[in-house]
């Protein structure tokens, strides 16, 4: 088990290194201009040199992402609980939700800007609007799949809907919930950067926008690297939390025979 795990990780790391080496070689061999595709080594140098300038923007992007994400989770859990508990609410709300979630969020940003001006608020709202949907779907699914027999056992005991939800429904949705958090945090991040790119004077999205209009291509790529790094880090954090909180859902793999 352990050996395979280490080897798997070594392969993943190897692939990443290989990717950058290939990229570097490609640029060197074809003599690619750094206005089109800078070499990764150049990008790293830019990243390190400009880091003090980038840092506040990183914090800004991270902040708007997290804020939008937290709001999105609150909204998502609420809607998911309502929809999952009541069949009627499910049937009523679902078409509207699907409709809303199908709108490309980039199209909504101008509206947010119109209402709230450019800057932090539209970024938070975009992050929220893009990330709550997977949470709604997962919470609702988790609640809807509660075993009817167990529900009968509890109802026969006089359990209220809240009792059943609190003791059975919600714990059962936890694996779904945390799986959706991983997706949602990535979405929130995309939403925040998207909005910054369109309408903001702060954040990594804005830095990349400005850099590209100045033809500072290595800085654009440095921004990309930052985004990729942050995205991976956020994903990793939530998958770690997921493993801690809902280990029971995956533990079936190592059944101890008794």
């Amino acid at each position: 088990m352990f050996g395979i795990d280490i080897r798997q990780k070594a392969w993943s790391a190897g692939l990443i290194v290989l990717f950058f080496v290939a990229w570097e070689l490609f640029c060197v061999i074809t003599g690619m201009s750094d206005l089109v595709l800078p070499r990764p080594s150049q990008v790293f140098v830019t990243l390190v040199q400009r880091f003090p300038v980038l840092w506040p923007h990183i914090l800004q992007t991270l902040g708007t992402t997290m804020f939008g994400f937290v709001l999105g989770v609150a909204l998502g859990v609420t809607l998911g609980a309502i929809i999952g508990v009541s069949k009627t609410a499910y049937d009523t709300c679902y078409p509207l939700l699907i409709g809303f979630s199908s709108i490309p969020k980039v199209a909504v940003v101008p509206i947010f800007v119109l209402w709230f001006g450019s800057g932090t608020v539209p970024a938070v709202l975009t992050a929220l609007s893009i990330c709550f949907f997977p949470i709604v779907v997962n919470i609702a699914t988790g609640l809807a799949t509660t075993e009817p027999e167990l529900e009968d056992v509890l109802k026969a005991l006089g359990a209220s809907k809240f009792d059943i939800l609190w003791n059975v429904g919600l714990p059962r949705t936890m694996p779904f919930f945390f799986a959706s958090l991983k997706v949602a945090i990535s979405y929130a991040f995309v939403g925040a950067v998207l909005s910054e790119t369109v309408a903001s004077n702060r954040g990594i999205g804005n830095v990349m926008m400005t850099a590209s209009s100045n033809f500072n291509v290595p800085l654009v790529f440095a921004g990309l690297f930052v985004l990729a790094g942050l995205g991976v880090a956020l994903y990793a954090v939530f998958s770690l939390i997921e493993g801690r909180v809902t280990g029971w859902a995956t533990r079936k793999n190592d059944v101890i025979a008794t």
Partner: protein, 309 residues
């Protein structure tokens, strides 16, 4: 910080959802009086001309036709009959999960209104919650039913846990309390399921084919365990089963039901001495009882096919 915010948000959301969902429900304890004093209640369960029809108008499906049944306190009654005949409907009527379309259902001296009767129930599927240990699973009803509910947090690691473990010991699962459900076999889970149904000392135990998914040997083992539980706790038991030997082994009374819409065709006492053993189920008078019941069910089934065909 972020985590706590998430959870706070989540909890607020849930509360809202629940308020919306619960709005139509009755206040919880409006019917909760003292238990009926000993001796006054002649029957623990009384169905008089109860009819259950699911759906309305053209789509109405009769599940139970006029059924009258009286079960005394502490009796062990088995319901047998062809599949889909409404046996489970009777259980659901008694537990308050289903309302009679017409007729009256009286449980514990009170009419079953729009509230649950706090009975212990167990189904074929043990439905243990995978994130809790076995003892926690068994203690689940104590989280719901008063008077245990209000002291659950205080006593869950002392008195209630001992209670759960005492029951576990009685079903031969001593020392398994801190295991997780996935560490137990099907038969063990079903024993735990019986413990969960009994933990709050219900006066009534409703079993819907609890041993249907088990192999023959495990099943016979569990018959003995259930008999032992019944003899020590003496709840009123209503057991739905397809297995005539199971009915004969466990019950003090067997009701045979007709095909859908069900009604009771035969109601016979089983007088074999207790504790009964598996060997007894092969003795001539036990086999004779089985044959009699089988004949009733055969008739009911052929009548049903003639009726529809």
């Amino acid at each position: 910080m972020v985590k706590s915010l998430i959870f706070r948000g989540a909890k607020a959301g849930i509360q809202l959802a629940c308020t919306l969902a619960v709005m139509r429900m009755h206040p919880q304890d409006q019917f909760d009086g003292q238990p009926v004093p000993e001796g006054t209640a002649v029957s623990a369960i009384e169905l008089s001309e109860a009819v259950v029809t699911f759906g309305r108008g053209d789509r109405a499906v009769p599940a139970l036709s006029k059924t009258t049944l009286k079960i005394a306190d502490g009796e062990f009654v088995a319901l047998v009959g062809p599949s889909g005949c409404g046996k489970s409907t009777i259980l659901r009527l008694v537990s308050g999960l289903v309302q009679p379309t017409s007729g009256v259902v009286i449980v514990g001296g009170r009419e079953v209104a729009a509230r649950a009767m706090r009975v212990g129930m167990a189904f074929q599927n043990p439905t243990m919650l995978p994130w809790m240990t076995i003892e926690r699973n068994i203690m689940l009803p104590l989280k719901i039913v008063e008077p245990f509910r209000s002291s659950f947090r205080k006593l869950r690691n002392t008195e209630f846990r001992d209670k759960a473990n005492a029951l576990l010991e009685q079903v031969g699962l001593k020392g398994f309390g801190n295991r997780y459900p996935w560490q137990l076999s099907g038969g063990m889970l079903q024993r735990a399921n019986l413990c969960r149904a009994l933990i709050h000392q219900p006066r009534m135990l409703l079993l819907d084919e609890p041993f249907g998914a088990l192999d023959q040997f495990t099943r016979e083992e569990l018959w003995a365990i259930l008999q032992n539980l019944w003899m020590t706790h003496r709840p009123t038991v209503l057991l739905v089963t397809h297995d005539l030997r199971e009915a004969g082994f466990l019950a003090s009374r067997i009701c045979v039901m007709s095909a859908r819409p069900g009604r009771i065709l035969d109601d016979s006492r089983v007088e074999f001495a207790r504790p009964r053993t598996v060997a007894m189920t092969f003795e001539p008078h036990f086999v004779a009882l089985n044959q009699k019941l089988r004949a009733f069910i055969e008739d009911a089934r052929s009548a049903a096919t003639q009726g529809t065909g």
